[in-house]
Amino acid sequence: MKYSNEPMLDMFIFETTQLIEQLETAILSSEKSNCYTQAAINEIFRIMHTIKGCSAMMLLDDISSLAHAIEDLFYFLREEKPQNVDCCTLSDLVLEGVDFVKVEMEKIKNGDAADGKAYSLIDNIKAFLAVLKHSNTSGAPADTKEHNSEKWHKNCVSREAAPPSAAINFFKAVIFFEEGCEMENIRAFEVVHNLKGIADEVYHIPENITDNSKSSEIIQREGFKLYITTHYPYEQLYELLMRTVLLKKLELTEAESRDDIPALSQAAHEMCARVSEDGSPGKGGNGQREADYAEAQHVSIHNSIISVNVNKLDRLMDRIGEMVIAEAMVVQNPDLKGMQMDNFQKAAWQLNKIVGEIQDMVMSIRMVPLADTFNKMHRIVRDMCRKLDKEVELEITGEETEVDKNIIEHISDPLMHLIRNSIDHGIEPPEERKAAGKPHSGRIALEARNAGSDVLIIVKDDGRGLNRERILTKARENDLLLKPEDDMSDREIFSLIFLAGFSTKDGVSEYSGRGVGLDVVTKNIEKVGGSVQVDSVMGRGTSITMKIPLTLAIIDGMNIQVGSARYTIPIISIMQSFRPAENDIITDPDGNEMVMLRGCCYPVLRLHEHFNVRTEITEFTKGIFIMVESEHKVLCIFADELLGQQQVVIKALPAYIRSSGKTRGLAGCTLLGDGSISLIVDIAGLAGLSEPG
């Protein structure tokens, strides 16, 4: 690869991925409206053009030629505006191209060689273009420029030049360009153009250098031959021609007279054609241009955006975390205990404020709207509908909701899974929908909204809903029931579909149900500290809600002490803390301890028992209860004492601890202000453990 250099490669991947996404959106919205608007065609053309150029620079020939083929196709669409275009096939072709590029980009991202071959796809595109051209020939031949049969093309480059006098000089020049410089004919055109004002007359071979690419080959092979009349001396002309860019070789010879150069004598009487008349069409009105310019002024506002490698942001976040800890270490330094320091307190408060602001700012930099992730789903819906012959409308709301970049990466796959599942299993075929009195096409609503420090992402369909009985049967068959059926709420039963090894669909379709169940969804979501919940009404539809934290790195935590160990509980999961009266404690016949509060009974978890920590405080009345909630399960954690509230930076547990397998109920660890380590309690994990049975 030409640029193994990292930032360049990153930029290439980033930009191409972005362009491909734009492209996909443009195609899908065009397809939806059943036609490609001029604006869409322009956009697609430009995107393909950019991809072509960039991937050629990266020496990715297959991507480049594919982009070239699509560009040609859209060039034709743009210029010729053909009438009967098969939009469906067109979309399919371009989307196939999109997929090809996506796959290649993925390979590059993973450090593999982009070795995909696009020949057949390119051939298909070319064939499509050929058919299009054939069926849309307007009768008038495009090439009307086969004009002259004259052998020598003559340009009288300067009408103002002095009339041929005794002082006039005659030259013959042969120019060779560097190999691989491309567009030799235009290079030649450039040479002729530069002679303007110096030469009186210029004749050249090949004659047609404007729109004949064959002449490029001739120039490559035989060089570009020029016959020049000028009143400038040899040295000056030589110097001028030597300035030709990408010049490999110049032969300049002076002739005695006009007659020595056959071309000059032969063409002496021919008409002059001014170079400046080639090309350069009339300029647009000035007023229009100024208006455009004014518009550009506001366009340029959103140009002040730079793209930054996420790794750098991760590192920045990490450093900020360290800074938060360092700040706590200074301000809460044990050496300061009991000292009267007004000025220090003031300064400390100022520091605290600034650190907090920086932290907020870094967090907000990392926040990315869900729009891109959501919009990807259009493609999935489209492809699946076509394959399964269903009609589904995807409705997106709240796509401007922002989530931490690292979390977004974990959302895409689960979302895709849920949508596929909805279309495959949820939405009925059109006939069945009709019979059920539902609108012809199904509807999937994809919604995101903020809820406290979480984001809810909801996938809701109006399909047939989940079948409680079938789920139970299936769960029984696979031995997935942990509780007596009668004790299970609908929600709990529906949640069974997220268990590994659960699939109600016996047939395996291309999309969902290929062995990989919905458990992937829960796995992914739980990885980022989120949870999944299902609601469904038979015949009316299913709604799946994913609850995802806004960010991962820093949380508000409550530090607690158990024996000599410290733990941190995320504040968001704490409902309250209290000291119970002796007679509030209940022990059931199985020995499970519970605490009664305001007439409700809650299970108790002794942290010292769970984590096997030695402590003096084992009597409930001497310690403290912290009531926590996770996924509608409430649990009272028993600890020695509360130490206080603090922002903590979550760090993953070191690998050697994780590999010991004794990390149940722990989400990570953090450093406290005094430099000691605190373990972060995984409330969801503990709540799961505390379930009876």
Binding site: T50, C54, G180, R243, L246, V299, N303
Partner: protein, 119 residues
Amino acid sequence: MKRVLVVDDAAFMRMAIKEMLNKNGFEVVGEAENGYTAVRRFKELKPDVVTIDITMPEMTGIEALKLIKEFDPGAVAVMVSAMGQESMVREAIAAGAKSFIVKPFKEEHMIQILNKVLL
């Protein structure tokens, strides 16, 4: 050190050109991602040479070239073109571009061209 303004709608291309130039003793003083910004940046920076991509959104490289030439007839511009844009390159040269280069290009070609047009 010669001061260069790099105009291209693809950030990747800008980066690629910038790196080539920086390595070879040019100073990239500015970048622009469309014709409008190119014209504005040119007026602000008055670079020794400007490289202009032809196909760009908002305003094409050729329109930008014309406005730049209107502002400063002595402006030195090198067009960056893709294959298959012969007619547009021709138009650009007629409109006053000093030279052009075709993507994908080699570093030495780019440098040679810039050195020549700046003679």
